[in-house]
């Protein structure tokens, strides 16, 4: 059997990608040539070449997005999703009884109640779908904070108890968390991967519909050549204005981009690290991540693992499909601009690392393109910045070279802009037309416009979202440029927990993070205006305006109150807010209100409380190698009090069964009132002394 007969989509995909390449390269070259006609003989050669090169590259970059959106728009308007031969949607098979799926939820210092709520919602949804027999859950903790670790354990046991899910929901905490999330998943594969044919990887804030999970399993069962099926998670549940803008944009514009992306990718799709199902055996065999030569940030362990895992899976002959038609896959977006940029900082470093894999032997060209695309997401920022600087230099050169006195005066008609209007128009078309395509698609779908608050509100929301996007773009550009420069200068980023609650940005924080942007905007405006004159300055107004407004933008958009106000006025409404899916309703904080809460110091509670101590101690093993040190730490805790133990020392005691038992017994057997207060028992004892019991009364 020939390869093409086995993988019929390959020839189709290659043909489509040739067209995409032509659509990207030819217009970019044409636009560059036209601009050259304008710039030729008016700028010095070095400036002309540099400007044209960067312009063509950026034009190609934005046109790739445009063509993807256009193809997606055409597909969606035709009322069909792309199902090329070999698509996994075409061949579903009922899961075999022995098919087992592990749902992995790697967590790291997360808000435990939110994780529990998400897991519970997914669990119950699977239960309703009648598919629970095939699925088991693994909470894979990399948490280092002992307080959170103890909460995780307690919540795990309470969840299992309440859902009657002992043996269905597992919990594992890695004592050493090397290679972050990818290392956590790899640790699962090494320990338990052999027992599960498939694994679904979730994020700590992911929620998935049970029927969707079952459909993914059916696709995997029906397509033994598929290694990964990726869903398109949609952003939900946030209340800050910033997050609601992101949610709205993702819901409105996301479908056409997703459909277009699927059209180009076919079986060479991408994997975003969560809300996807993976075939465990090939993942374990082929997808262990290489460690790059050199030191971090560009060398060392890969920070951004997902794209590389997809590339390694495809390199080994397995197909990776992106299936945007799978609904019921949810995630949450960062609540504020600061949190979004912190995430971007990690992504920037990770995506730049991918460039070191570009020449990797055996990688498929589609994945090499994804590596370039990912890196360009961040490299585009300094390129835009450079282009603007070159543009400003060009304008300066132009006006200085002019013989008349039009440097500062503005006369409609007499002062001619150096940038041809039509080129500006084409660029604006490429950037903005996907927004209108998305609105047209929504407007033509029966019932869908109501899910966005109706056509007038949808248009108004799109207008405001576009304004915010334009204002945010230069801030992102400034920060992304900073991230790229920092990475290239060798300044790495540390793995940190993500913010997953609607915490607003204080003015002080906004000033600390974005003050330099606002200052830069004001200084540039002050410097450039006298040189450029009004007309040339107007062109820079969106950029300088966005930079200058960085502090208030960051502060105001982080306000949950403003987000709620917008929702009340049906602005930035998303379908999940109009028709709330059952699994999202289950995320309500009341749904996990029954979970036990730890008041005060969790370490003290786990030592003192006989029930909590029993649960935690039963889950530990005797670590005899630690005993000499643990014994000293126990004495330290008893003599000086638990507050004098560092987190590291607490972790040592907490991870040893004998230490926890000994401490528990020792604390309850203390008679020193001063020491008892450290363990919260003094009040108990005092009360008892005040009202002493007699042995003969028992």
């Amino acid at each position: 059997m020939s390869r093409s007969a086995r993988r019929p989509w390959e020839a189709i995909g290659r043909y489509r990608r040739y067209w995409l390449s032509a659509f990207i390269i030819l217009p970019a070259c044409s636009a560059g040539l036209v601009l050259d006609q304008v710039l030729a003989d008016r700028l010095p050669l070095w400036l002309e070449i540099a400007t044209l090169s960067i312009f063509s590259l950026l034009f190609a970059w934005i046109s790739a997005g445009f063509w993807t959106a256009l193809v997606g728009f055409v597909l969606l308007m035709g009322g069909r999703t792309d199902t090329a031969p070999g698509s996994p949607e075409l061949r579903l098979a009922e899961p075999r009884p022995q098919s087992r799926v592990a749902i992995l939820m790697p967590i790291y210092n997360e808000e435990v109640e939110r994780v529990a709520a998400g897991l519970q919602a997914t669990y119950k949804s699977l239960q309703r779908a009648g598919a629970l027999t095939h699925f088991e859950f693994f909470l894979l903790s990399d948490t280092r904070n002992p307080e959170i670790w103890l909460r995780e354990e307690l919540v795990w046991s309470a969840l299992c108890e309440s859902l009657d899910a002992f043996g269905k929901i597992h919990y594992r905490r890695r004592p050493i968390n090397n290679k972050a999330k990818s290392g956590n998943v790899a640790d699962f594969c090494r320990r338990w991967g052999a027992g599960y044919e498939y694994m679904v990887v979730l994020d700590a804030d992911s929620v998935m519909n049970g029927e969707t999970l079952y459909r993914m399993l059916e696709m995997m069962e029906g397509n033994p050549q598929v290694g990964i099926i990726q869903t398109q998670p949609v952003a939900v549940n946030r209340e800050t204005l910033y997050a609601r803008l992101q949610q709205f944009a993702q819901h409105l514009y996301g479908p056409i981009f997703s459909a277009g992306l699927r059209f180009w990718q076919l079986g060479d799709g991408h994997y975003i690290g969560h809300n996807a199902i993976l075939r465990t055996a090939p993942f374990t065999e082929f997808c262990a991540l290489p460690v790059l030569p050199g030191r971090p940030p560009l060398g060392g362990p890969l920070l951004s693992h997902d794209f590389v895992e997809a590339a390694l899976m495809a390199k080994s002959g397995w197909e990776v499909w992106f299936v945007p038609s799978l609904t019921g896959s949810y995630e949450e977006v960062p609540p504020t601009l600061i949190d979004d940029l912190k995430r971007d900082r990690r992504w920037a470093q990770g995506n730049l690392q991918h460039l070191q894999l570009l020449a990797g032997e055996g990688l498929r060209s589609a994945h090499r393109f994804l590596f370039i695309n990912g890196a360009m997401s961040f490299l585009a920022a300094p390129l835009w910045g450079l282009f603007l600087i070159l543009g400003a230099l060009g304008s300066l050169h132009w006006v200085n070279a002019a013989s008349d006195d039009a440097v500062t005066s503005f006369h409609w008609g007499s002062s001619i802009d150096p940038m041809p209007f039509w080129l500006f128009g084409v660029t604006a078309l490429l950037l903005l037309s996907p927004k209108f395509m998305a609105v047209i698609w929504v407007a033509t779908q029966p019932g869908r416009k109501k899910l966005f608050g109706g056509i007038p509100r949808l248009l108004l929301s799109m207008f405001f979202e576009s304004i915010f996007s334009v204002l945010m773009a230069p801030i992102r550009m400034a920060f992304h440029s900073q991230f790229v420069i920092q990475t290239l200068l060798g300044r790495g980023v540390r793995w940190g927990a993500q913010v997953r609650s609607d915490a607003e940005t204080a003015w002080g924080d906004a000033l600390r993070y974005f003050g330099w942007c606002s200052a830069l905007g004001l200084i540039l405006a002050g410097l450039l205006y006298p040189f450029l004159g009004f007309w040339h300055f107007v062109w820079l107004l969106p950029i300088l305006g966005g930079l200058t407004a960085a502090v208030p933008l960051a502060a105001w958009t982080s306000r949950p109150g403003l987000g709620r106000w917008a929702r009340r006025h049906r602005l930035f409404v998303i379908p999940e807010e109009v028709q709330v899916p059952e699994e999202l309703q289950a995320l309500d904080t009341d749904s996990v209100a029954y979970l036990p809460h730890i008041e005060g110091d969790a370490f003290v509670q786990v030592v003192v409380d006989p029930r909590f101590n029993a649960i935690h101690t039963a889950l530990q093993r005797n670590r005899t190698g630690l005993w000499p040190r643990a014994a000293k730490l126990c004495h330290k805790a008893l003599e000086e009090g638990p507050q004098y133990l560092s987190n590291r020392e607490r972790n040592i005691l907490l991870s040893d069964r004998n230490s926890m038992l000994s401490l528990h017994r020792a604390v309850w057997s203390m008679d020193d009132r001063a020491r008892l207060t450290h363990w919260g028992l003094e009040s108990d004892d005092q009360a008892l002394v005040d009202a002493p019991l007699r042995t003969d009364s028992l």
Binding site: A359, L638, R665, L688, V689
Partner: protein, 167 residues
């Protein structure tokens, strides 16, 4: 105190007292001890019968013991834990665990609830290796491969996976 590689224990007063042998001492008033025991028992979901029985066991153990201070507390809680262990016919930890998870004390999982809980937390491990494979990332080699593909007119293809049933 750490004694050897097989076990260690600690004394509630912090330092190991020289000559602490549990010799008879006068107990002036052991009511606070019993009151603390009572508070401990209140944190466990014992039935009335179990509570009464455990109390009785502790009192009988303390009866006639001439201790005071930390030694008396230690003795009382040792008795308490012994009584709890007797409830499960095994380990006091299992008894506390049964009570915490609202299981029938001593009757669930052959009285080995802590082992059972560990099994629920993590299924049996089936080890499998997962190591990254070597990958030639040289740009020179990549250029060579590209030239070879261009001139030999053979497309660069990824190794195709053998499907089940194929040779």
């Amino acid at each position: 105190m750490f004694k050897d590689e097989t076990s260690y224990s600690i004394h509630p007063t912090g330092e190991w007292r020289t000559g602490w042998t549990g010799e008879a001492m006068v107990v002036a008033n052991n009511a606070p001890v019993l009151a603390r025991v009572e508070r401990y028992l209140a944190r466990l979901s014992l039935t009335d019968a179990q509570r009464l029985w455990v109390r009785g066991q502790i009192i009988s153990q303390l009866h006639g013991i001439g201790m005071e201070g930390g030694d008396l507390y230690a003795r009382a809680f040792a008795s308490l834990h012994m009584a709890l262990a007797t409830l499960t016919d095994g380990d006091e930890l299992d008894a506390r665990l049964d009570l915490s998870l609202r299981l029938s004390v001593g009757e669930s999982h052959d009285g080995k609830s802590s082992r059972w809980l560990q099994q629920q937390m993590a299924p049996a491990i089936q080890r499998r290796s997962m190591a990254s494979r070597p990958m030639n990332r040289s740009w020179l080699a990549a250029a060579g491969r590209l030239l070879q593909a261009l001139f030999s007119r053979r497309p660069i293809t990824a190794r195709s996976r053998a499907l089940p049933g194929e040779a």
